[in-house]
């Protein structure tokens, strides 16, 4: 779902850059107060894992592929601020080093995948966990985060006059409803593994 240069118009990508900058600044300020230095390598490895996992496209319906995004993995595991920073780091590396995602669209991608999937995903997860089991909460948040991000992407494309809204929503949501299942399954697998092998990591203070 990395938006390349050329899909969004100037007003749209500028506003999204502004919003993402505010969100990242918030995350930085929040972590300044709460990030335990010992957690830094954990953030590093989560970011590295998400980078790697995003390379593994899997086929979904006819001639289309999906890939893991990792927002809920980062957000539910580490907290909203750390989640935003982890996803932003991955997206910046992907954009600058690998040309995956446009430079003008970086703000949009950080918003959709960093803010919405990671921070938004964290809040959805936190609410669901109050009355559902851990893995069920992870599964649902993972799926919702992808569909939500895809919907917002559709809105951004429509506002940029790239494609009409109804067509964008239909196309983006339908394919990402399927991709979201992959996201949910992978996130559950990782959480399940961590909860068996190192459950203490799930108890770490979330920033």
């Amino acid at each position: 779902m990395h938006i390349p240069d050329g899909f969004l118009d100037v007003k749209t990508y500028s506003v999204l850059y502004g919003v993402s900058t505010v969100a990242v600044a918030w995350a930085v300020r929040r972590l300044n107060k709460s990030l335990d230095e010992k957690q830094v390598p954990l953030l590093g490895v989560v970011a590295a894992f998400i980078f790697a996992a995003q390379m593994l496209n899997f086929p979904v319906a006819g001639g289309t592929s999906g890939h893991f995004m990792g927002g809920v993995l980062a957000g539910a595991l580490l907290g909203p601020a750390s989640g935003i920073l982890v996803m932003t780091t991955v997206l910046v590396v992907q954009c600058l080093v690998f040309q995956d995602g446009g430079l003008t669209a970086l703000g949009a991608n950080v918003f959709n995948i960093g803010v919405v999937c990671a921070a938004g995903g964290y809040f959805i997860f936190a609410v669901l966990k109050k009355f559902l089991g851990l893995l069920t909460a992870v599964f649902i948040s993972g799926w919702v985060s992808v569909v939500l991000a895809a919907s917002l992407c559709a809105v951004e494309l429509a506002v940029s006059n790239t494609i009409p809204l109804k067509a964008a929503m239909l196309a983006m949501v339908s394919v990402h409803a399927i991709i979201g299942i992959g996201e949910a399954l992978i996130t559950v697998a990782v959480f399940g593994f961590i909860s068996k092998v190192r459950p203490d990591i799930l108890e770490l203070k979330k920033g």
Binding site: M1, H2, P4, D5, G6, F7, V28, L31, N32, K33, L35, E37, Q39, V40, P41, L42, L43, G44, V45, V46, A47, A48, F49, I50, F51, A52, A53, M55, L56, N57, F58, G63, T64, S65, G66, H67, L85, V86, T89, V90, V92, V93, C95, L96, V97, F98, Q99, D100, G102, L103, C153, L157, T162, I163, A167, A168, A171, M172, V175, I201
Partner: protein, 97 residues
């Protein structure tokens, strides 16, 4: 903590270097929508940046598989390194207040 960090890094490297070879090359959701709805060309030639490893390849490596694996390895190491640097930098700023 050290063992889980190391394990996580090894898994990440294995995914990026080896498992990525089996990844689907079909266009992803957004790309496919862009193709079907006729706006994919809007992104053609619009790249603002000349990235060193475009589209997860290492340009001077001729073999496509090796190029892809090398790019994956570099990406994992870079991402880990930059995230850690950023994290330590944050802590530094807090300590100096």
């Amino acid at each position: 903590m050290k063992s889980i960090i190391l394990a996580g890094l090894i898994v990440s490297v294995v995914l990026a270097v080896f498992i990525s070879q089996f990844a689907s090359s079909s266009p992803d959701g957004l790309e496919r929508v862009a193709e079907d709805r006729g706006f994919l060309e809007m992104s053609e030639g619009k790249n603002l940046l000349k990235s060193p490893l475009p589209d997860y390849t290492v340009p001077f490596i001729g073999n496509e598989r090796v190029s892809g694996s090398a790019a994956g390895f570099i990406g994992v190491v870079l991402t880990f390194g930059i995230m850690c640097l950023a994290g330590y930098f944050l802590k530094q700023r807090e300590n100096s207040r």
